[in-house]
């Protein structure tokens, strides 16, 4: 996708003016938050599970090589193939090669953020292979040539009227008389159209929520069952996954599954949780003839051992963006990258470079709500701050900020001088405040006074006043 993170401010300004988007974002702010809270409330051991999940993923990251090799051996033993891709480009080539060998014309796809990260659909189309998204949300945005605005609800920025319009535009078989006003009618329509595509597809591509070292299985969770049809009806099943998806055992996977859906949608479990291990065995009634796993690094190993390592615990539940006041205000597309919200603000600079993603870790109030709901207890604000530090070290911080900081720090580090300057400044500002005790315009503070009044200071500074009164 085209990276528009450098234009975050303009993107955000547009989003704030978009009445339809603002209405749609209300669903995130209200719906997801309330559902997660209820699910958490209903599970007394939720906090203990978070600690357990964090410890488990931390352990895995410390022994990532070991578990990946164990996983690879198990996949091979079950008759599958494992491919290692260091970069997005390598991953795309590997997948294209698998498709070509299968003489694929059409591939179906389960919802997968890593395939967005490597921009797989565009690449396959360029090489004459049609990629059909089968998750309803992904299907809708594919019709619109858009990218996901949320990692678990890719079309959350749209309303049902817009979807109806898209369906009528593309599904030309639809009679005008057909009522599509209810979401369930839209769902049936998409389902009817997609059903045929599953049978036509030569290759089915899914992501993975987990890879299990103990058994060589890949695991997907969905609510529509589209992933199951994608991976079992095509001749070839390709799993694309980044390397940190690995967990040691089935038991470990089960522990984290208890956190995943609750944190994401507030469900106890997603409707479908599907484990796949290798291709169809002789005694199986169905399943793919071939099973491939493409393991993608794309910057992950560079995060190991850095101050961003903890980000690799992320299980992509979306709770951080669901609880983020900035995401609620501007939505996912404003971030201009694959991963929006707080987790994107940390991950995107790792993938695309801080020079092109500087706004993302800066556009946060550090309210900490993301960290407080993260099932893996990832310290997202701390890591956003680390990105600001990298930016500052590389001299990428905007000049106005640097000068402002330099001016402020000069005084803050000289208490006697600061006291004199502050005393004078506050008396002046206090006088300007007049009887109203506020200023509606203030030079150099336009960012503030464009939208709100500036409270006037009371007059003498506290530290000076206190010590004068007490005769210190």
């Amino acid at each position: 996708m085209e990276l528009t993170s450098p234009a975050f401010k303009a993107n955000a300004a547009r989003a704030l003016q978009d009445a339809q988007l603002q209405k749609a974002l209300g669903n995130v702010e209200k719906g997801f938050v309330a559902k997660r809270a209820a699910a958490r409330q209903a599970l007394p051991e939720f906090e203990a599970l978070r600690d357990q999940g964090r410890a488990l993923k931390t352990h895995v990251l410390e022994h990532l090589d070991l578990y990946l090799e164990a996983y690879e051996a198990k996949v091979k033993a079950s008759g599958g193939h494992v491919h290692w891709a260091e970069s997005a480009e390598q991953a795309r080539e590997i997948i294209l090669d698998i498709c070509r060998k299968a003489e694929a014309k059409t591939v179906t796809k389960g919802k997968s953020m890593i395939s967005e990260e490597i921009d797989l659909n565009t690449f396959l189309e360029e090489n004459g292979i049609e990629a059909v998204e089968t998750d309803l949300g992904e299907y809708i945005i594919q019709l619109r040539h858009e990218h996901p605005s949320h990692i678990i609800a890719p079309a959350i920025h749209l309303n049902k009227e817009q979807v109806e319009e898209d369906f009528r535009r593309v599904h030309t078989h639809l009679p005008d008389s057909r009522d599509l006003s209810e979401p369930v009618a839209l769902l049936s329509e998409a389902r009817a159209v997609l059903r045929q595509r599953y049978f036509e597809a030569d290759v089915g591509i899914t992501g993975a929520n987990f890879l299990i070292a103990e058994t060589g299985s890949s695991v997907i969770v969905t609510n529509e069952g589209n992933g199951d049809l994608t991976q079992s009806l095509a001749r070839v099943h390709v799993v694309v996954a980044s390397i940190e998806k690995i967990v040691p055992t089935l038991e470990d996977c089960a522990s984290i599954l208890r956190l995943l859906a609750r944190s994401a949608t507030g469900q106890d479990m997603s409707v479908y949780t599907t484990f796949s291990t290798g291709p169809r065995r002789p005694e199986d009634e169905d399943g793919p003839e071939a099973y491939h796993v493409v393991l993608i690094d794309n910057g992950r190993t560079a995060m190991l051992g850095s101050e961003f390592e903890e980000m690799l615990r992320c299980i992509r539940c979306g709770a951080c963006m669901n609880h983020c006041p900035v995401y609620h205000a501007v939505g996912g597309h404003a971030y201009g990258s694959v991963y929006p919200g707080p987790m994107g603000a940390v991950l995107t600079p790792s993938l695309n470079g801080i020079n092109r993603s500087g706004h993302l870790p800066n556009a946060s109030t550090f309210c900490g709500r993301c960290e407080s709901v993260c099932p893996m207890k990832i310290p997202l604000p701390k890591m956003m701050r680390h990105w600001r530090e990298r930016e500052f070290e590389k001299n990428l911080t905007p000049a106005a900020t640097r000068y402002g900081l330099g001016f402020w720090a000069f005084f803050a580090k000289r208490p006697a001088l600061y006291r004199r300057a502050a005393g004078l400044g506050m008396r002046l500002l206090s006088a300007f405040g007049g009887e109203k005790r506020r200023l509606s315009r203030l030079p150099l503070a336009g960012g503030w006074t464009d939208f709100r009044d500036m409270p006037a200071p009371e007059g003498e500074t506290f530290v000076a006043a206190f010590n004068r009164q007490r005769g210190a």
């Binding site: 556009a363 709500r369 701050r385 900020t401 960012g447 409270p455 530290v463």
Partner: protein, 264 residues
């Protein structure tokens, strides 16, 4: 009024006023002094204090932030306790100074020892000085905003409500989503002013809907943001730091003044 046993020594408390209270709202500083003295503390306000360093720390400027951390520690480490009328600045001193100075062999341990002494004002009164009620009166209804750093980094939520419940005549009317950010975010509100405005605009709707006539919180940054927005919207709701009400010092004009007829 405190339930502390009489033999508990009267501790020497260094009041870290915070730059915004020092510059904009001395009333909060005097309220804090009154509350601390009523809780049996001997209070001093060192002249050599400026700012906790958050503007630098949160802008990625670790060097200046570390300089200020060392400056604050030097000035305040001799006290029995260091108290700040702000969850955000207290969390900076208590939680972030040790992290900031952890790589500095000479300062890491000092920062850790210093951290143990630092508290936010209201939680210090209730949790350390065991204050269970205040001698104050306020005739009217108030609503309380939970500032993010105090709430999530220091666990401040029940303490102010507990003490507010003992203020004579005061009625607490909880607003919806009191625990959601007001959009201030330090330099965020200047750097991304339109997003900040969108967030604070949602907050003022909830404040208005509470039906309270006074908004309280424990952090001057959030208070200035919400007061500035309320006044710009022509709201009649007044705004004060929670310490002013707890100390019974509500005689000064509120933050950003009172609403005159609809302005603008």
């Amino acid at each position: 009024m405190t339930d502390m046993p009489p033999e508990a020594a009267s501790p020497r408390v260094g009041l870290f006023a915070t730059c915004l209270v020092d510059l904009f709202r001395p009333s909060v500083g005097f309220s804090a002094v009154k509350l601390l003295e009523e809780a049996g503390c001997r209070v001093e306000v060192p002249m050599a204090q400026t700012c906790c360093g958050q503007p630098a720390y949160n802008s990625g400027d670790r060097a200046d932030a570390a300089d200020l951390a060392r400056q604050v520690i030097e000035v305040f480490e001799g006290f029995d306790y260091v108290v700040a009328p702000s969850g955000s600045c207290a969390a900076m001193l208590k939680k972030h100074y040790p992290e900031l100075l952890s790589g500095d062999a000479r300062w890491a341990e000092r920062a850790e020892r210093f951290s143990d002494k630092v508290f936010e004002l209201v939680s210090f009164l209730t949790d350390i000085r065991k204050v269970v009620r205040v001698e104050a009166a306020y005739q009217g209804s108030v609503t309380y905003h939970d500032s993010c750093s105090g709430l999530r980094e220091l666990g401040i939520s029940a303490q102010p409500r507990k003490l507010l419940a003992t203020v004579e005549g005061l009625e607490l009317r909880e607003m919806k989503d009191s625990d959601i950010c007001c959009g201030f975010g330090g330099t965020f509100c200047i750097k991304y002013s339109d997003i900040s405005n969108a967030i604070v605009s949602k907050k003022t709707v909830n404040i208005e809907a509470s039906g309270a006539d006074l908004l309280l919180a424990g952090d001057m940054g959030c208070l200035m943001n919400m007061a500035g927005k309320l006044k710009r919207e022509g709201s009649a709701i007044e705004v004060r730091h929670v310490a002013e009400v707890l100390a019974g010092m509500t005689d000064r004009p509120p933050i950003a003044g009172t609403a005159s007829r609809r302005e603008r």
